[in-house]
């Protein structure tokens, strides 16, 4: 089974909109499921209400959602590395409110270094 990986670097009310955008990309692809990493300092109380409509609307794709604090970004990079090495993820979508964000550059570097196909999803 093939999975995609989404990294969302968004804040506040934008998390939901960004998730919809990326999930629509996933639906167009042939993957079985998606690992979603949301880089935010917001907790479940703020994030889940935004993700809920799309989670409830989806019955066909497996979904795993991780919340990653900004100070845990390096752990996220190693997690993606492990998932790719284990051949779990085959494609990679990056979304950031601010395309010039340093995180985006780091994620692109990672994808290029390990040979993971990626796409930067814009607003």
């Amino acid at each position: 089974m093939s999975y995609a990986c989404i990294v969302l670097i968004a804040s506040g009310d934008n998390i939901g909109r960004a998730f919809v955008k990326c999930f629509n990309e996933i639906r167009k692809s042939k993957v079985h499921g998606v690992f979603t990493f949301i880089v935010t300092n917001d907790g479940i109380r703020k994030v889940i209400p935004q993700l809920r409509p799309i989670i409830l609307n989806n019955i066909s794709h497996g979904v795993s959602i991780y919340l990653v604090n900004h100070n845990e970004f390096n752990r996220l990079v190693s997690e993606i590395n492990v998932l790719f090495k284990q051949s779990v993820i085959t494609s990679f979508y990056i979304y950031s409110d601010d395309i010039n964000n340093g995180y985006v550059r780091k994620l692109i570097d990672l994808a290029e270094r390990i040979g993971l196909k990626y796409k930067v999803v814009t607003k």
């Binding site: 499921g33 889940i48 979904v63 919340l67 845990e72």
Partner: protein, 513 residues
């Protein structure tokens, strides 16, 4: 005993309901007419435990997850909630599986809406989560994983999710994913907050483990998934899998080893075992029952049957009669209780919401199928507890009229009929707003008719069903007498609810908008 992964659940599910599965329904309601302690003693007595606090019998879903973890080499065990304080100080993770964490499912939602009191299942779950051992476990960084058939409810209660520090919610069949989660916990890797296991990711028949200890009331799964495709049901989304006979027998033996000599065959539609179709087949059913009875069990029950399958099986080779004759001839059993779904008496609504429920017959024939099935069950000493669903999407007052008409046709068949409010599951799971509802005037009429029907039959059914548990029988009889006695005053209350309902004022709001 050294355990890394503790599996548990609150008292409303960690119980054997005195060996009477139907009594479990009482845990979906608040205590009515009886003190809560007495209510809980009748509905959910403490189970027998060994010297380590492991229950002799545990919910089947927890048994499957425990087996998956043990097979993968982890130290895991199911522990009674009263013994958690002994293990949580050293455990790595606490795993909790539930049928109805927050009483959003039916029939909890009906009792809650009508009585305006929290059902005991919700109350005891909240009490468990706020207990000292769990709070201290969380404080020292222990992981809490929740799952089971009601995992979807967490998406609607983000406050509890955050407040209790739930690390991961697993929504869907968990046997495969739990092994990955457990390994992540051991390795100190990050955990997903939420995992949804899609139909394509579910375990295959070979990947479903065999339970290691006895299940409550000898429940054993014989199938997963359902081919009928009803739009309100989540089971139907999953691929259909028949559990092979050797695995079923292996689980019967596990139960017998621990002294549980009853078998409750579990499927959404037991009569479809081995059918690869919606038409029951005699051969696999006879083979299954013979193999189970050959183990020397004392009783065999069915969890659920569909009414169309009952009719088809009896019309084509008297399969129902043959199976019951076989069971009664090999055991001392005198009857069989079973759950089934009427859902609506309206062919129009049946066509929209559950077009294959009547299959291989047409939805237009649904009321006739229901009555014929009730008649077949009565002749074969099968006592059904049937459900009706109110507030289905696209329901109209004339559909309720049809349901009332059908109930009149069923009044002489021994049975319990339970009204339930629609819960957004299956392909309709995105209709979150329907978790909040207004009780309509016509719904009260159905509920009242259900109460009359069930009060008419309950004393007789209690007499048969509770024959081996005299104290529980006395408790239930007191409860029924109380309800009968209070029916007069209830009539006044119902009139008031009807008035409020007709003005749209009687509502149930278990979640935020």
């Amino acid at each position: 005993m050294d355990i890394d992964f503790i599996l548990t659940v609150d008292r409303t599910l960690m119980t054997d309901h005195h060996g009477k599965e139907f009594i479990g329904f009482m845990t979906t309601s608040p205590a009515i007419g009886l003190p809560e302690r007495l209510w809980m003693w009748i509905a959910a007595p403490k189970p027998k435990v060994d010297e380590y606090g492991r229950p002799k019998e545990a919910p089947y879903g927890l048994r499957k997850i425990e087996a998956a973890l043990i097979d993968a080499g982890f130290k895991a065990a199911i522990i009674d909630p009263d013994f958690l304080h002994k293990y949580l100080p050293r455990a790595k993770a606490l795993l909790i599986g539930h049928h109805d964490f927050f009483a959003f499912c039916a029939p909890s939602n009906v009792w809650w809406a009508v009585t305006k009191k929290e059902p005991v299942n919700r109350k005891y779950f909240i009490k468990l989560m706020e207990s000292k051992p769990i709070r201290e476990f969380k404080k020292r960084g222990g992981k809490i994983i929740v799952g089971g058939p009601a995992a979807w409810q967490w998406l609607h209660v983000e406050d509890f999710w955050e407040e209790w520090g739930i690390d991961t919610v697993i929504d869907g069949e968990g046997e495969k994913v739990i092994v990955d989660i457990a390994q992540r916990i051991i390795d100190g890797r990050s955990l997903p907050k939420y995992v949804y296991v899609a139909p394509r990711e579910v375990p295959s028949v070979d990947e479903i483990p065999i339970i290691k200890g006895a299940s409550v009331n000898g429940l054993i799964e014989i199938m997963r998934g359902c081919p009928r495709g009803c739009r309100f049901c989540s089971v139907t989304l999953r691929p259909l899998r028949y559990i092979p006979l050797d695995k079923i027998i292996a689980e019967v033996r596990v139960n017998m080893k621990y002294g549980r000599n009853q078998v409750l065959l579990h499927s959404e539609d037991v009569l479809l075992y081995g059918a690869y179709d919606i038409k029951p087949k005699e051969e696999p059913l006879m083979k299954l029952h013979k193999a189970v009875l050959d183990q020397g069990v004392d009783a065999v029950g069915w969890s659920h049957v569909s009414l169309a399958a009952v009719v088809y099986a009896e019309r084509n080779g008297r399969i129902v009669s043959k199976l019951l004759d076989l069971i009664f001839s090999k055991t001392n059993q005198k009857f069989m209780g079973v759950q089934t779904g009427i859902e609506t008496g309206s062919p129009r609504l049946a066509k929209i919401i559950m077009p294959a429920k009547a299959a291989p017959y047409r939805p237009e024939q649904w009321p006739d199928i229901v009555e014929e099935a009730f008649s077949i069950m009565a002749e074969n000493k099968i006592l059904p507890a049937a459900t009706l669903i109110l507030n289905l999407p696209e329901e109209k007052p004339e559909d309720i009229e049809k349901t009332l008409e059908l109930m009149d046709r069923l009044k002489d068949y021994p049975s319990l009929i339970v009204p339930m409010y629609f819960v957004p599951l299956g392909v309709l799971k995105d209709r979150r707003a329907l978790l909040r509802f207004h009780i309509k005037k016509e719904h009260i009429e159905v509920m009242w008719k259900c109460l009359e029907h069930s009060l008419r039959w309950a004393p007789k059914l209690a007499e048969i069903y509770l024959a081996g548990t005299p104290l529980v029988k006395i408790g239930i009889k007191i409860f029924l007498k109380l309800i009968e006695w209070r029916k007069k005053s209830l009539e006044g209350k119902v009139k008031r609810i009807l008035e409020e309902a007709s003005k749209g004022k009687y509502s149930h709001t278990p979640i935020r908008a």
